[in-house]
Amino acid sequence: MTRLSIETTELTKVYGTGEAAVHALRSVALQIQRGEFVAVMGPSGSGKSTLMNIIGCLDRPTSGSYVLDGEDVSQLSKDMLADVRNRQIGFVFQSYNLLPRMSAAKNVMLPLLYSRNGHLSDRECYERAIAVLESVGLGDRVHHRPSELSGGQQQRVAIARALANYPSIILADEPTGNLDSASGEEIMELLGQLHKQGTTIVMVTHDFKSAEHAERIIHLLDGRIVSDELNGAESVREKSR
């Protein structure tokens, strides 16, 4: 097996045709190693979400290839993409996207219910959900509904849900975008822990402070990667001050 978690070549995404065509991504070449923690930055409309959607197998590129864990997934069928999302990818959304009428545990169980290999019994699903919730520090909020939780707690439930199937990659599109800075910091620390445990993390953020938690920062502009540097370079810090 390759050490590369994500490899894209000549990745292009065009919305619409003719005059109205929007080039959201232009020949993006990106390599992310297993276990890396990457922050994606860039102005609004630069194509960050588009890139995340393709990496997350929610969308297919217009052209170019995308190899995920050694498998070319750029042209898989809808069903196979669903399976890849279920097994290999954990999503964290800006707006949490928890199902409001379900308890935290039930929300976390969702990806397990759609799992097609290594089918777990209902009891095992539940136990797994509890364990994952405990690992994000919500062992005492298992039966709470999202409306009974703070924003930071909700996002932690969402992270627990992303972790439920032990995916190799966590994709987070502005995970702290809706949170105050203290809760945002908690979330970033949680992601940092996951990173230490060996999970590949790709995160979109507008916040330089959040980006500091990443090992590597990629800047997008107008659908192109304009910079790709390791964190710790002073330049990033200076920009934030």
Binding site: D59, L99, L110, P111, L113, N165
Partner: protein, 407 residues
Amino acid sequence: MSFGRTLKVAWEGLTLNKVRSVLTMLGVIIGVAAVIVMLAVSSGAEAEIADQINALGPNLVMVMPSFSRGGLGGGQGGPPGLSYDDIEAIAHDVTGINGVAAEQTTIQTVSGGGTTLESISIVGTTAGLPEVREYAVAEGRFLSEEDNARTNRVAVLGYSVAQELFADQSPVGQKIKIGSTQFTVIGVMKEKGVVGTTDYDGRVYIPITVLFKKYTSSRLGGDKVRLAYVSAESKDTMDSVMSQLTTLLSQRHDVDPAAPDFNLMTQDSIIDTAASTTETFRDLLAWVAAVSLLVGGIGIMNIMLVSVTERTREIGLRQALGARPRDVQLQFLLEAVTLSLAGGLVGVLLGVGGSRLFNAVGSMRTELVPASIPLAFVAAAAVGIFFGYYPATKAAQLDPIEALRRE
């Protein structure tokens, strides 16, 4: 996702909005209940008719003038019908019969024993009536052939008429007046009650020949019987009785036996004719019920479409977490089918309960058609699948990114 889990998810989806789910089911509930009640009502009506016809007596052949030939006032020898002589001839010449009864009714005032009764059915009949109708005399005797032949002014009273006129006294030998004519009471019938629409006990029986002479006008065909009952000894002699009747009456009326001026009917043939009428009625009701099921189905489709729109984000999320299009489709299809089947179940309960209730309060006779219950379920499931398919497919085809972005 496994079928069982998808079913659970569908169930949870429905319980989120219970009031709406129940209202959506209402269409199917009403449709299914209507199917069951209507089938029960029409089969009850059929059974009622069969009972009334069978209550006329056992193994009857009914002889009626044929209106297609001659019609009223036309044909050979005046209006169609049977004369008293025809009845006599049947009684003497046809073998394998218990008796012949002709009946002609008029309404008159009856007085006797110091009491006057208005609007009493006076039945002119023949000696065969007790055998044909299984209706026995309690006291005295019934009308004889001689009474008819001699036009004796004698009367036999129904049970309640006797009670009302003479109370505890014996009516036999007493005089009564029917209209302006005096009669001698020769007998009282046993209590029989109401059969079908006929109140046997409230009638007075006199010789049919007397009735023709005193109460009906011969110019209007008043000396002809419109209906005579011939009681065969058993089911086995019915065919022979019918062919003897055809021969005898054709001869007497001087008509071709292949195109007679009378019709012979058995109870079975009348029941069959009645059944074909109720079948038409039932088909009509079935269509009404089917339309209401259809409307119920459209209601389900409508609500499922609303639900898919409302839950677009949930659908997008489920897709992001690994739901395949078919998982989403099955989830919504199962919601629709669960709605329609639950509606079907409640509808069956209501339909069965309603049919029982109609019977119990005596307003209508109903008989549950057992096949209508599985039929209702199959119809409900079919409605759910048919009307759930489009919304479910629409949900399955949603693009996950767009769905997630939707507010």
